[in-house]
């Protein structure tokens, strides 16, 4: 109960932030005030206030269910608020809309985000609500509009740049790597780049090689950026809000096939921690690390594994850069076996880096080599059966766990 009251109190304290008039905007933009207001994660049992430093939260409330579909699993058990049900793209839209209302400096730019409503409907109706200056339809020039977003961010605006498909952002690689990631460092801290670059990526349904790219493996070396991958409506909204509020450039990876996932999310405002991994299913026998769409393949495999008598611990790492080595390490300490399931290609993917990080840091806790299941190192073929063989399937996960645990 006290958590809810605290939540209500914080909500009123937040109200000044919702109305930012243009004068205040002009005055504050140059001086870049540090945002002091706190916000409460509305979960029962966890009543901590988060200053903009976003400290790592020790999760006390673990989700017991394999798949977070029930309201009583996700939201508080003492709360009388049932929350509301929505699809993942609507959750992203809600998060974006709330942040745009809260801070007038947040703007969206991308192809077909305005009048068209977004190619995946994430920005639907936002142009009608906020106008053409805040929801900008750009011409097809990823290099230029990503660079523009970064330039605007240098002055204090908080743009959300959408790549219609993450693969198109390869054209903006120079801007993302050199300007977005490095300007805070090369200017000696003078400029911050509070930009969010988001878009759908990953292997879809027969979209072809060029539209099935996993850019997290290409961007992971860029110093200065943070990368997160959302996988449920709950964390999609939370990560979107956190990414917009972060002073660092954040790349938010969505997945083409996850936009229509349905879940019940809380009505109260909440923000997820950008650098934290999510414990999907606690267990004892093996730690399965995954993110984005592969989470669902893993959970499907988990059902089979549970029937076979295994107890896998499933962690959705969420934060691709930097890794949440705290959560991961504690899990490794407990289970002594690690399986990584990812959609990146085997060479130079997130899994490869994660394998290296776990081997270096937690070698003493491991009873078996780290196993990494990734997509094949091939351009994604068009034919459906071939495409299926490119990515990791639940059956392969089951086999891998069986081999690991015997």
């Amino acid at each position: 109960m006290s958590a809810i009251l605290q939540g209500a109190g914080a909500a009123t304290a937040l109200s000044p932030f919702n109305s930012v008039d243009s004068k205040k905007l002009a005055a504050s933009r140059r001086s870049l005030p540090v945002r002091v207001g706190g916000y409460i994660v509305a979960r029962s049992g966890v009543s901590k206030s988060f200053p903009s430093g976003l400290r790592v939260r020790r999760s006390e409330q673990l989700i017991a269910n394999a798949v977070a579909t029930k309201a009583d699993g996700a939201a508080s058990s003492t709360s009388s608020k049932p929350g509301h049900e929505l699809l993942l793209f609507e959750a992203l839209q809600e998060g974006l809309e709330e942040e745009m209302e809260r801070d007038a400096r947040v703007c969206v730019m991308g192809e077909d985000v305005g009048h068209y409503g977004g190619s995946y409907k994430v920005t639907k109706d936002l142009a009608k609500k906020f106008g053409d200056l805040r929801v900008l339809d750009t011409p097809i020039c990823e290099n230029a509009f990503t660079g523009m977003g970064i330039g605007a961010a240098m002055t204090g605006l908080r743009p959300v740049v959408e790549g219609m498909n993450m693969g198109f952002l390869l054209l903006a690689f120079n801007q993302i790597s050199n300007n977005c990631g490095m300007l805070h460092y090369t200017s000696g801290g003078q400029f911050t780049i509070p930009i969010v670059i988001r878009g759908p990526g990953g292997v879809g349904r027969q979209l072809g090689a060029e539209h099935s790219q996993r850019l997290e493996s290409y961007f992971q070396s860029i110093p200065g950026i943070q990368m997160v991958a959302c996988s449920t409506p709950y964390n999609a909204k939370g990560l979107m809000k956190a990414a917009i509020r972060s002073e660092n450039p954040v790349i938010l990876f969505e997945h083409v096939l996850l936009y229509n996932l349905k879940e019940r999310i809380p009505d109260e405002e909440y923000v997820c921690n950008l650098e934290e991994a999510e414990m999907v299913r606690p267990g004892e026998h093996v730690t399965i690390l995954t993110y984005s769409r592969m989470r669902y393949h893993v959970m499907q495999a988990a059902k089979t594994l549970v029937n076979k008598g295994f107890d896998p611990e499933v962690i959705d790492i969420r934060s691709l850069k930097p890794f949440d080595l705290y959560t991961i390490g504690n899990s490794v300490k407990k289970t002594h076996r690690v399986l990584i399931v990812e959609e990146c290609m085997r060479t130079g993917g997130i899994g490869a880096s994660l394998t290296a990080a776990i081997n270096e840091n937690f070698h003493d806790y491991l009873d078996a080599p780290v196993v990494c299941l990734s997509s094949q190192d091939v351009p994604t073929p068009y034919a459906g059966t071939l495409e299926e063989w490119t990515v990791v399937q639940p059956a392969q996960i089951v086999t891998a766990v069986e081999q690991l645990c015997l």
């Binding site: 011409p139 230029a144 460092y185 000696g188 705290y326």
Partner: protein
């Protein structure tokens, strides 16, 4: 216009005939406005060019002279420091092009933003940066404007609206349009000057940015500093059409004699007014660099020494202002020489102070990567230190 010039000149002569040196010193702080006609007319594309009569004052002319001498001296000093191996890596020098930086500053305020490429030392000074900060940054010391972590190509001065300092050719153009967008978004009534070179003028992102800027009416002024060489390639070998001011096509353009500080001032003033009302405009500054592309380039393999010395004799921006000042008797040759000596001392003192500045601490390696501390820590290059530790 010519008459007024003659009359001010004859006044000067009368004054000089009657007065002693003391009286001339008071003229050097004279802020009374005067008009000077620039020698070369503007060439315009899709717009009416501004008038050739430029408003200025004796004080301003002397400040032009002094500031350009400081810039010239700084670049020459940087040359020596590079040869002495105190400056490493890349060092792109701006000597010869000072009029662009100074003329631009004279027409704008610090609310307006400037963003440029890697040839940024003098632009930084023009925006109010100090010599000590510049030299320290070049030598990689703590007192540098980027704490020694940026280097020659990454000078920034946020409080004065100087957004750098960018190493990749042309990448600053979309950034500049972003700055202009932010100015429009926040209703700043300010403009952004995005500088790039004739080499960068062939980049696709320039045209992408021009399209967006024209489409959304951004207060962006794209300034092509045409020094006629893209590193070692002359412009006629790199560009089918060397009329860079016309490349905007539907965006108006103006070609300016970039070695004439007054012409630059007039053009930038005009451009600012235009951009605030009508959206983007392209300025082409016809200028020249005496040094090679960078310190690794002698600068004489793709152009003759005669050409370089010819430009130095006929078009040098500092010489032009000197002649103007002397002919109007705002100062004597000796006084100008004294200014040069004083500047030389100032630059030497700044170098000495910069040499005293310490190199950044090892801990600075990991600062300013992210804005806030994270739950985990960054790893050192050998991955043996600074690991995440479990309780």
């Amino acid at each position: 216009m010519a008459l007024s010039r003659l009359s001010s000149r004859s006044n000067g002569l009368l004054r000089s005939a009657a007065a002693a040196v003391l009286l001339r010193r008071t003229i050097s702080t004279d802020t009374s406005p005067m008009t000077i006609d620039i020698s070369l007319p503007f060439t315009a594309h899709l717009v009416e060019p501004p008038s050739r009569a430029v408003e200025t004052s004796p004080k301003e002319l002397l400040s032009f002279y002094r500031d350009m001498v400081v810039m010239r001296r700084m670049e020459i000093a940087a040359d020596s420091l590079y040869k002495a191996k105190l400056i490493r890596g890349f060092c792109h020098l701006y000597d010869g092009q000072e009029a662009v930086a100074i003329g631009m500053e004279a027409a704008i305020t610090k609310q307006d933003a400037i963003i440029t490429s890697y040839r940024d030392h003098c632009t930084f000074l023009g925006r109010g940066g100090s010599l000590v900060e510049a030299f320290s940054e070049l030598m990689g010391r703590k007192a540098g404007c980027s704490n020694g972590k940026g280097g020659s190509m990454h000078f920034y001065k946020k409080d004065a609206g100087f957004y750098g300092g960018h190493g990749i050719v042309g990448a600053q153009i979309p950034l500049g349009c972003g700055l202009a967008f932010a100015q429009k978004y926040s209703k700043d009534e300010a403009v952004t000057f995005t500088l790039y070179g004739d080499g960068a003028a062939n980049q696709g992102q320039l045209f992408e940015a021009l399209n967006i800027a024209a489409l959304w009416d951004l207060p962006a002024i794209l300034v092509c500093e045409n020094n006629h060489y893209g590193m070692g390639t002359a412009e006629w070998r790199a560009a089918k059409s060397p009329a860079y001011f016309k490349r905007g096509d539907y965006v108006p353009g103006l070609k300016v004699d970039g070695m004439d500080v007054l012409a630059v001032k007039q053009a930038c003033k005009f451009a600012k007014e235009h951009a605030l009302k009508n959206g983007p405009i392209v300025l082409e500054m016809d200028t020249y660099r005496y040094h090679g592309h960078s310190m690794s380039d002698p600068g004489s393999t793709y152009r003759t020494r005669d050409e370089i010395s010819g430009v130095r004799q006929e078009r040098d921006p500092i010489e032009r202002v000197r002649k103007l000042i002397v002919s109007h008797d705002f100062a004597t040759e000796k006084e100008l020489k004294d200014i040069e000596k004083e500047v030389r001392k100032e630059v030497d003192a700044a170098i000495a102070e910069a040499k005293e500045s310490p190199v950044p601490d090892q801990s600075e390696l990991f600062t300013n990567i992210y804005v806030k501390g994270l739950g985990t820590e960054s790893f050192g290059a050998d991955r043996k230190e600074l690991r995440a530790s479990l309780p």
